[in-house]
């Protein structure tokens, strides 16, 4: 009796999870399979998931004619620079706030933390853009990169600070006795110890910058050659040719999706840890 009960409950659980799994995977499958359909098929019928005939045409066309080679490069450049830059700024800031002693430390930290509550999201894009204009970085992706890298991600800062807190202070002390300065303790001792954390930061920043839409759009409005993938794809949708460029939109979306999915499948542990760590440890 008890074991039948358990069997029924397990079957039901699997049934629900599998149904949700199928529903959730549908949009992803639709995009990737759709990118192999011919444009005629895409524009005239939409009643099947699998293509009638597999064609690679859409990718060739997107890559050669629709500037997607350039968009992809821009995305790689932007995401790559932000990832590398953030690794340094986040770990340095976390280290300084955790181990440093300097005037106004607590006040500055409070300032950073309270930004979580005055964050208006997309509403501050305009003034950020106006400030970037003052520095002459409003027409390239460098504007986005500098804002993201120097602008400090509060979540990452929290995670780094609590991670460094868990490293024994005795290590720093003995390095200090050996004549290490504050900076060389970071460079030689703390930074190498942060490897698992760096993977988390890198992956979160990659996801954020690769997927970002509004900020890069604003910074490349007048300079279409610098558009990253997401902005380029959306640009197609907004253009007059939107109705006839389904093939390019689907191929473009797949080019944007597939690297992200691969990175996720390889490093999913870090994704899930990272996305939740900030909120829990914070």
């Amino acid at each position: 009796m008890r074991s039948t009960n358990r069997l029924v409950s397990a079957t039901l659980t699997y049934l629900v999870l599998t149904l949700v799994f199928l529903a959730v995977m549908f949009p992803v499958a639709y995009t990737i399979l759709g990118s192999f359909k011919g444009n005629m098929e895409l524009l005239t019928k939409g009643n099947r998931l699998f293509p009638e005939k597999f064609v690679l045409d859409n990718y060739v066309q997107a890559w050669n004619m629709a500037n997607f080679a350039k968009y992809t490069w821009n995305s790689i450049f932007m995401a790559g620079t932000i990832v590398v830059g953030s690794i340094f700024t986040c770990t340095i800031a976390g280290y300084c706030f955790e181990r440093g002693h300097f005037p106004f430390k607590d006040f500055l930290f409070l300032l950073v933390v309270s930004s979580m509550f005055v964050n208006l999201g997309s509403l501050t894009l305009y003034p950020q853009f106006a400030i970037a204009k003052v520095f002459g970085i409003n027409k390239t992706l460098w504007g986005v990169i500098i804002i993201r890298v120097l602008g400090l991600n509060v979540t990452n800062l929290f995670v780094t600070r609590s991670y460094i807190r868990s490293i024994s202070r005795e290590i720093d002390e003995s390095a200090k006795v050996d004549g290490c300065s504050f900076f060389s303790i970071y460079a030689r001792i703390i930074f190498p110890l942060l490897k698992p954390l760096i993977a988390t930061i890198a992956i979160l920043e990659f996801r954020h910058s690769w997927n970002d839409y509004l900020m890069p759009m604003v910074f490349t409005l007048s300079n279409p050659n610098r558009m990253p993938l997401i902005v380029g794809i959306m640009n197609l949708k907004g253009s007059g040719a939107a109705a006839s460029s389904w093939n390019l939109m689907l191929a473009g979306s797949s080019i944007a999706l597939i690297p992200m999915i691969i990175v996720y499948l390889i490093f999913n542990r870090y994704f899930i840890e990272g996305l939740t760590a900030g909120a829990v440890k914070g």
Binding site: G46, T89, L120, Y126, P127, L214, W246
Partner: protein, 301 residues
């Protein structure tokens, strides 16, 4: 012994290391807020500006009925989709917490939509639900559920539904993981005791699980509410506010005034006053929420 705040070589190094980030942070996080407060007092198209005092706010509160209509849209969309998203996330987390064999597989795959760009999500859903050649209409017709194509984006109600669906798809994963983590931290002994007493599963959920995950639930719900009130790119990437403002939300409306997007004239001053009011509304929602759910958050203490 108190630590004297002495300036040593190390503290100078610390300040120098931190300086670029602090400057960048203040310049790109706090200065924009100050600028918004200032712009709000001006009439400006981005190039010429003129001081007009509180005129922008008077316009917003007395003449701009559109803004308030879009506030309502935002609330309907956010709370409508959270009514589906939060229970779904909780249900999946509970099912995965049963310790069945394939849980790892489902945890990885069901979380996948959460890593996908919100803009791409909007695009994919707008293609799937396209009236003429969209796959949803195509499949529904093939199995005979509908006789002719539904124009999903032609009516406010159905357009909102599709947006809600897209948003749930994109966001339930993160909530699910939070709930799962909270569930895993509930001591197993509590359930074992309940089993001995012969408590039904539903009562176990109500009287053990819910109180134990109360604080997480409160925090997750707050993040979900604030996050969905701030949604902009999903709408810009899919309906762009159509049909005739039926799916326009506050964030996209203000965005269009700031950048002259979608054929609107640039009105930086007016957009800023709306940004200020929107920020205050967000703060009020968070405050009311925290006050009214305090019981939930402290139930374990």
């Amino acid at each position: 012994m108190t630590k004297k705040k002495r300036i040593t070589g190390d503290s100078i190094q610390a300040m120098l290391m931190l300086a670029p980030m602090m400057i960048g942070f203040i310049v790109f996080t706090y200065v924009p807020i100050v600028l918004i407060l200032r712009y709000a007092m001006y009439q400006s198209n981005g190039f010429r500006e003129q001081w007009i005092g509180f005129e922008n706010f008077i316009r917003l509160f007395t003449r701009d009925t559109q803004y308030w209509r879009f506030v309502l849209n935002t609330l309907v969309l956010s709370f409508g989709k959270l009514l589906v998203e939060i229970p779904l996330a909780l249900l999946l987390a509970v099912l995965m917490n049963k310790g069945l064999k394939a849980t790892g597989f489902y945890r990885v795959t069901l979380f996948l939509p959460a890593i996908i760009s919100t803009a791409i999500t909007g695009l994919i859903f707008s293609l799937m639900f396209a009236a003429f050649n969209g796959i949803v209409n195509g499949m529904l017709m093939r199995i005979g559920l509908i006789a002719k194509p539904v124009n999903w984006f032609g009516r406010q109600a159905t357009a909102m539904m599709v947006l809600g669906l897209a948003s749930v798809w994109n966001n339930y994963g993160i909530n699910m993981i939070f709930f799962l983590m909270a569930l895993q931290s509930v001591p197993k002994e509590l359930y074992e005791c309940a089993d001995i007493d012969g408590i039904t599963p539903w009562k176990k959920f109500l009287y053990i699980t819910m109180p134990m995950i109360g604080p997480t639930f409160q925090a997750v719900l707050l993040m979900a509410i604030v996050g969905s009130l701030k949604v902009a790119d999903l709408i810009l990437a899919s309906t762009n506010g159509q049909p005739s403002g039926g799916t326009e939300v506050v964030m996209t409306y203000v965005f269009k005034y700031f950048f002259g997007y979608d054929g609107r004239t640039i009105e930086v001053g007016y957009a800023s006053s709306m940004a200020v009011v929107t920020g205050i509304l967000l703060a009020i929602v968070s405050f009311v929420y925290i006050r009214s759910t305090n019981k939930l958050g402290h139930s374990t203490e």
